[in-house]
Amino acid sequence: MFKGMYNWIDERLDVTPMWRDIADHEVPEHVNPAHHFSAFVYCFGGLTFFITVIQILSGMFLTMYYVPDIINAYYSVDYLQHQVAFGVIVRGMHHWGASLVIVMMFLHTLRVFFTGSYKAPREMNWVVGMLIFFVMLGLGFTGYLLPWDNKAYFATKVGLEIAGSVPWIGGYIKELLNGGSIVGAQTLTRFFAIHVFFLPGVLLTLLAAHFFMIRKQGISGPL
């Protein structure tokens, strides 16, 4: 039945070349763990992406209960974690995934560094990867405030003090992120907006560029 449906659509839209172009390509032997087990180091980029997808999905579901309001934020997180069925699991995925994505990204960066894959002609992809790294750190920083507990509050205060120590413009950066002069109601809504709309938008754009470049240039050769 699915084959029939697929053929019906393919006759009209000719989608086969499209997905072939994306998905149907050879994996070189030196990056295939089935050939050399040590090639598992080439999996970290894909694992980073896999966890990123989980982060996006679990985050989407978390916003069904979460409210970015200083009175209710903590209680909404408490509720979704302890009252909602599977709340511990969904929030746990987002919580642990946030750390894991940094770990995986770091391992991926190490692999790229030690195999020399950043060298010409792939320098631009390294730069885009670094931008992704900073966006991920930004996502971690903004997401950390959202439960609005003591740890979140003081971590953000410290983080904003660090931002404020930038020469000349630090004060403005701090106030802009703060949404005023204190970490309060407007900081929480701001961080929420940055965490769920602005940075994911930037992240997806950068990821598209990252993947486009790796497809265009291919995987770097064996050592």
Partner: protein, 177 residues
């Protein structure tokens, strides 16, 4: 110079100062596009930076302690200030360490560490007769002078003494060190 060449120069196309139709149209189109995108983007930017440009609330003076109770040993006082945070108004509890200096003047220090904003406290087993910060071990003297870790001395509350009572106003940079 032969005749032929002369003929050529005479008939060289006149260099016109006007732009071509194509250029005019692309400038017009580009300008209109830029104008329209500015119309969309500028309101959003102004919207985002509004808290930066909003007038800061000026702190009123709050009565905190009787002047007679202030000693040369810093003591912690709690007081409430009215705070407007966007749509949320509250009266959060503030803290100050009040003491009499060697000059006999009453002064009040903010307990917010100048390193990264943790809350410091006065004296204790790990730092006798000093302010210490639990986060990264910053130390300050009684006057708020930064001894370790912190880059700047502790902020000071503006102090007013009136009719035997001490009033605290807005924070300002330390004036004692």
């Amino acid at each position: 110079m032969n005749h032929n060449e002369q003929h050529e120069t005479a008939h060289k196309p006149v260099k016109r100062k006007e732009m071509t139709r194509r250029q005019f149209l692309s400038y017009t189109l580009g300008g209109a596009t830029a104008f329209m995108s500015m119309g969309a983007v500028l309101p959003m930017l102004r919207f985002a930076v509004d808290p930066l440009l909003e007038k800061k609330q000026t702190g009123a003076f709050v009565k905190v302690i009787e002047e007679g109770k202030v000693t040369s040993e810093p003591q912690q006082v709690d007081f409430k200030v009215h705070q407007v945070d966007g749509w949320y108004e509250s009266d959060p509890k503030m803290q100050a360490y009040i003491a009499k200096g060697d000059d006999g003047k009453v002064f009040a220090l903010s307990p917010i560490c100048k390193h990264l904003g943790c809350t410091i406290s006065w004296s204790g087993p790990e730092a006798p007769n000093l302010y210490h910060c639990p986060c990264h071990g910053a130390r300050y003297t009684k006057d708020g002078k930064n001894l370790k870790v912190a880059p700047k001395p502790l902020d000071e509350y503006e102090v007013k003494v009136d009719n035997g009572w001490v009033y605290l106003g807005p924070l300002e940079p330390n004036t004692r060190v």
